[in-house]
Amino acid sequence: MVSSSRLELTAEPKIAMQNFGDSLFKYLTTFFAALVLLLIGVMAYEMYATSSLSIEKFGWSFLTSSEWDPVMEQYGALPFIYGTLVSSLLALILALPVGVGIAVFLTELAPPWLERPFSFIVELLAGIPSIVYGLWGFFVMVPWIRSSVEPFLSENFGFIPLFEGAPYGVGMLAAGVILSIMVLPIIASISRDVLNAVPVSQKEAALALGSTRWEATRIAISYSRSGILGATILGLGRALGETMAVTMVIGNRPEIKLSLFEPGYTMASVLANEFTEATSEMYISALIEIALVLFIVAILVNAIARLLVWSFTRTSNVGGRL
């Protein structure tokens, strides 16, 4: 502060000019950043306002009721919230170990001539449109799940309630698997970047102290824990909002069933399915309230995940110092 006021005194006109540019730049970028907030605010308000009819009529029971009946105009979003959370969670459980495994292979083990083309292929997966995943899922993956995966699971693990029931192919399991394939490239490529950013000296130090390759890798992974979690959050964002691919394989039945073989439904899918033909005010209002709930769930899940990252990095820093 002191030095800058001194400068202003000595070279006033030129600095003033610069200051104008600086402050213009500052306000302009602040304005751009504020636009994002404004956009979110306007979206949230608009959704809240247009769903007021259903909010007034159903209140909190909208979140706890499982009844979704457009004919009787009874709307409850619980099965959709459940389906969105479970399918996304399933996707992360399946994709996280594989994604981190790919990243570790690429950064620690793969020979350089293999790393480049391999990374490229992984990133290519992220660019495939979701409708393509959906069609592939519907015509290739679902029949395979019905004829091989589900019979295998129910034969060997049928005592677990998760794997009960008739093998339809479509259902929560199929949705989780297709989502895991879709979030895999996000988790793998970001984790790879994060692992690449681990200082070589860290690994060398570990190896020099007599660590095995596995132990050195573990140190690298724990060093980049927060980054990997960040990658998972990005993947989760995609999984929560995914529409087309999920709609094609989840079976679209608004019911809460423990078994992963049973059909389910997600918030994004019901919007995609029913919005175009919704005619009555209450129906549209209820669908928009679903969008609002999805918006809030996405924010909440992200916030919880950020909190997780924050608490992890804090403890890992302490551990590092010890």
């Binding site: 457009p70 004919v71 519907f138 995609a272 175009t276 033909e277 919704a278």
Partner: protein, 345 residues
């Protein structure tokens, strides 16, 4: 540089000047193929351009109420409330003009029973209510003497997206089953008692093809083009009728004399010996009192052309054409359109 710019400006301006009359419409996806054909042929003939967005019947009705289009299109008629709302907002009645018909067929995948499964209305309703769960149930077997129906579970597949196809199908089930009417009701999306949801005709057909023992419903046109096997349904007169363009037109013909004044009518469960019972109209939604003389004239001429010549394109595109009786009713409706209180010539 300047030359290029002025050239661009010149092209842009002349294009605006040459722009022809354009009518904007929005609505149902089901009749999109034949409407595109009509608009294309009519533009070749007269130069009048049409811009039709197939955003779904619900969207079409909404835009008609808001007055953002010159005409709308829907597979399910507007409700009285919606008509009243349109009247308050646009200051005019909205006419329903039926254009072509479609049918919904029950497609199934049961190995070894061949193509001509027969279903009674009762059996169909109870399958979709989840009360008949096996293919060898007596209610199915009675109508299919000589067929070896397997002891296999029935898997019901329905549309997951809101759709006019669903509307026609559940409208039929409501008419033939009191239980369906009270438990489920009629709409473009309903609360299905059982079954898996597939997106679009292709989603339903795909699941039926994949899952042995399944039954679903799709548009007739889709089933014919994709060689699906579909059931004959027993109609009101007691005959098992296979779905076809002719049997759908027959249903409309038999209902024409009972058509209400505003032409908002369901022809499911139609009377008549040869009527296929699960069919329906798709409508254009037209403002009775037009606001723009030029557009009004173009619209009236187009409608007259559509029912004189356009209907001939229907069968080749797998739509059932209107019977003469209904076209006559349409012509009366078109004649009732007004601009400034005067008939449109």
């Amino acid at each position: 540089m300047k030359k290029i710019l002025s050239f661009i400006l010149f092209v842009a301006l002349t294009n605006i000047a040459a722009a022809q009359l354009q009518l904007n419409g929005a609505g149902a996806t089901f009749p999109y193929v034949i409407y595109s054909k009509w608009f294309d042929e009519y533009q070749k003939k007269t130069g009048v351009q049409f811009n039709y967005q197939s955003i779904g019947s619900g969207g079409g009705i909404k835009q008609v109420i808001e007055g953002t289009v010159d005409f709308g299109a829907t597979d399910g008629p507007m409700t009285d409330t919606q008509l009243a709302e349109a009247k308050t907002k646009q200051g005019t009645d909205v006419l329903h003009i039926p254009t072509v018909m479609g049918a919904v067929v029950a497609t199934y995948n049961v190995p070894g029973i061949g193509a001509d499964l027969k279903l009674t209305p009762d059996a169909l309703a109870e399958i979709f209510l989840g009360k008949i769960t096996k293919w060898n149930d007596a209610k199915i077997a009675d109508a299919n003497k000589g067929k070896n129906l397997p002891d296999k579970s029935i898997v019901v597949v329905h549309r997951s997206d809101g759709s006019g196809t669903t509307y026609i199908f559940v409208d039929y089930l409501s008419k033939v089953s009191a239980e369906w009417q009270s438990k489920v009701g009629v709409g473009t999306s309903v609360k299905w008692p059982v079954g898996l949801g597939g997106k679009g005709n292709e989603g339903v057909a795909g699941q039926v093809k994949q899952i042995e023992g399944s039954i679903g419903y799709v548009e007739l046109a889709y089933a014919v083009k994709n060689n699906l096997s579909y059931a004959s349904i027993r109609n009101k007169a007691g005959n098992f009728i296979a779905p076809s363009l002719e049997s759908v037109t027959a249903a409309a013909m038999n209902e024409a004399d009972k058509m209400p004044e505003d032409l908002r009518v369901s022809i499911t469960d139609a009377a008549g010996k040869n009527s296929y019972p699960i069919g329906g109209f798709t409508w254009l939604l037209i403002y009775k009192d037009q606001k723009n003389e030029e557009k009004a004239k173009a619209l009236v001429n187009f409608l007259k052309w559509a029912f004189k010549e356009g209907e001939a394109f229907a069968p080749s595109l797998y739509y059932a054409p209107l019977p003469k009786e209904v076209i006559k009713l349409n012509e009366k409706k078109i004649a009732s359109m007004r601009y400034n209180g005067k008939p449109i010539q």
